[in-house]
């Protein structure tokens, strides 16, 4: 049994190499990471970065080439059965038995876990607005995701490992999911969730680990990352645009003008920008969220220009 100060997740030089014929693929390289009790930890990275490999190693679905993972004070490989009793898991690509109804799937997993509080299951079902009477084959991807979340949550596990949990969920359901995760944290339980969308992680996570090409690039608090966050803004004016209009406006960078259109990178609030435009007739404003890669380049590359080639990212684990 882990004491209160033991990290809920502790990996030491965890590595995984896949062999495909004569080729070897380093899917994960020397991952050393700690996740603490009662936190929501976001595991961020683009597709193919090694997020799912890490999660599969933690769940003992695959075996490490090197290193080790300890969850809840137990070895992920040797104590996998006992660990699975205390972990709730949602895979990124959730496949369930298509001929069973949602209720039958829940019942099967509940029996495998030695029983479940059906009143709590019903509460979750209601909250997720999920109809368990239909067959899995007839569920939309969003409804399958809800069923997966239900399976992960229904035993009130000490640790939730969720791989891209909000894939396929509509914005309303994403909000409900965020609320549920905050409740899990409030109960002192721990959430490890992977995502490739920064804004999703920002809204609920306490800390974020950033993975790229199988290597952990950094672990930061969300507050720190928020300082690095920016968005791309396109303004269409009635008159011909001039970059001088916005020169010196706080948070504005990478300003370009083309005819009546201004493009810029904005960090922080909109208000200074709008204030600077108070004498202009603004026809249209479009905003585009910066990609994860752009934010990290901006953050770690001391980036005044997010598009420039960044130096290798500094490891801050």
């Amino acid at each position: 049994m882990a004491n209160h100060n033991t990290p809920v997740i502790q990996t030491e030089s965890l590595s995984k190499v896949y062999k495909a014929g004569k080729r070897t693929i380093q899917a994960l390289s020397n991952l050393t990471l700690s996740v603490h009790r009662g936190e929501i930890f976001g595991y961020l990275g683009p597709n193919g970065a090694g997020k799912t490999t890490t999660i599969r190693l933690m769940l003992d679905l695959i075996r490490p080439t090197n290193g080790s993972a300890t969850l809840l004070g137990m070895d992920a490989q040797k104590d996998s059965v006992e660990l699975h009793r205390r972990i709730g898991f949602l895979p990124a690509e959730l496949s369930l038995w298509k001929n069973l109804t949602g209720r039958q799937v829940i019942d099967y997993v509940a029996r495998l876990r030695g029983g479940v509080d059906w009143q709590y299951v019903n509460e979750l079902t209601e909250r997720l607005q999920f109809d368990p009477t239909l067959r899995v084959r007839s569920y939309s991807s969003g409804n399958r995701r809800k069923l997966g979340l239900l399976l992960a949550l229904m035993n009130k596990p000490e640790l939730l490992i969720l791989d891209e949990p909000t894939n396929g969920l509509d914005p309303l359901m994403q909000q409900i999911f965020n609320d549920m995760m905050r409740e899990v944290r409030a109960e002192g339980r721990t959430v490890f969730l992977s995502s490739h969308i920064l804004s999703e992680v920002q809204s609920i996570c306490d800390r974020v680990g950033i993975l790229g090409s199988g290597k952990l690039q950094a672990v930061e608090t969300v507050a720190t990352l928020r300082h690095a966050d920016f968005r791309w803004v396109t303004l269409r004016l009635h008159e011909v645009a001039n970059t001088q209009l916005l020169a010196g406006v706080p948070g504005v960078a990478d300003l370009t003008a083309d005819s009546s259109t201004l493009k810029l990178r904005l960090r922080g609030d909109f208000n200074p920008l709008l204030h600077a435009l108070k004498d202009q007739y603004v026809v249209d404003i479009k905003t585009e969220e910066a990609s994860l890669e752009e934010i990290f380049l901006s953050y770690y590359g001391n980036g005044s220009n997010a598009n420039k080639t960044a130096e290798p990212l500094k490891e801050r684990v």
């Binding site: 769940l59 679905l61 695959i62 075996r63 059965v81 699975h84 972990i87 898991f89 895979p91 029996r111």
Partner: protein, 268 residues
């Protein structure tokens, strides 16, 4: 939890087992119902006019008297000629133990529950083994019903032995499929190699039976069909050496499958 996978596997399989069993049982009954026709067409006379090599080719040995008896016709026409059809069932069920679930991705959910991998495999195997036993019972039922309908006196003990002679053979094929499923994560590989194993064994046994005294006859020894031998069972009863041998090989393959599956990556 103990037995959950076993019960769930049976719950999901009983319908298919019943359909398979009823189908094969009906086929068995049909063969028995057709037995009077063989007398009507003077089947014995037809066989006597055939050259020995042709008789060997259709699976009739030197004992012509047995070949034209009801038991002989059932052994040859049903248990012998339909052998490849019987083998489909254990391959389908063997694939369901891990291969299909791994390919579909449902194994991830199953193995992330508090149940060891070996137990998942063993409980599923036990459930499908039980369905093979039920299949044999339904085949025996078909033979008994057919015999009753045309009033042919068949030795019930021998019919039971011939039906249960299927058990070690079907178990071996199922376990071989499970073993390949533990070895490879791709369903296509498992299906292709199992098919090659079954068809090649059948060919080796058939050709080996024809070419007496040749290398093919020696090679026949590595075919599991050689130890299935429905005619021998119908004439002299179960050969315990063959039965125990096939079950021992099955047990060894199952142990190897459990060992391999416990150690390898899943879903890669």
């Amino acid at each position: 939890m103990q037995g959950v996978v076993f019960v769930e596997t049976l719950r999901r399989t009983w319908r298919q087992t019943l359909f398979w069993g009823l189908g094969l049982g009906a086929l068995a009954a049909l063969v028995v119902l057709m037995l009077p026709l063989f007398d009507a067409i003077d089947f014995a006379g037809i066989l006597e006019s055939m050259p020995p090599i042709m008789l060997q080719a259709i699976g009739i040995g030197d004992d012509m008297e047995f070949a034209v008896s009801p038991e002989g016709l059932i052994a040859l026409g049903f248990f012998g000629k339909m052998a490849l059809i019987f083998m489909v069932y254990p391959v389908v069920m063997g694939m369901r133990v891990t291969s299909n679930e791994e390919d579909d991705g449902t194994l991830d959910i199953l193995l992330s529950q508090p149940i060891p991998r070996w137990r998942v495999m063993l409980e599923k195997f036990a459930a499908y083994l039980l369905t093979i036993f039920v299949l044999s019972l339904l085949i025996l039922g078909g033979l008994w019903l057919g015999a009753g309908a045309v009033n042919i006196p068949l030795d019930p003990g021998r019919m039971a032995e011939a039906s249960f002679n299927l058990l070690p053979t079907l178990t071996l094929v199922m376990v071989f499929t499970i073993f390949l499923g533990a070895l490879f994560s791709r369903r296509q590989w498992v299906l292709a190699l199992t098919t090659i194993f079954v068809v090649a064994s059948f060919m080796l046994d058939s050709v080996g039976g024809l070419a007496k005294g040749s290398a093919a006859e020696t090679l026949r020894l590595i075919s599991f069909f050689n130890y299935y031998n429905p005619s021998g069972v119908m004439q002299y009863g179960l050969t315990w050496g063959n039965t125990v041998g096939m079950l021992a090989v099955s047990a060894a393959l199952l142990a190897a499958a459990l060992w391999l599956f416990q150690r390898r990556d899943v879903g890669t």
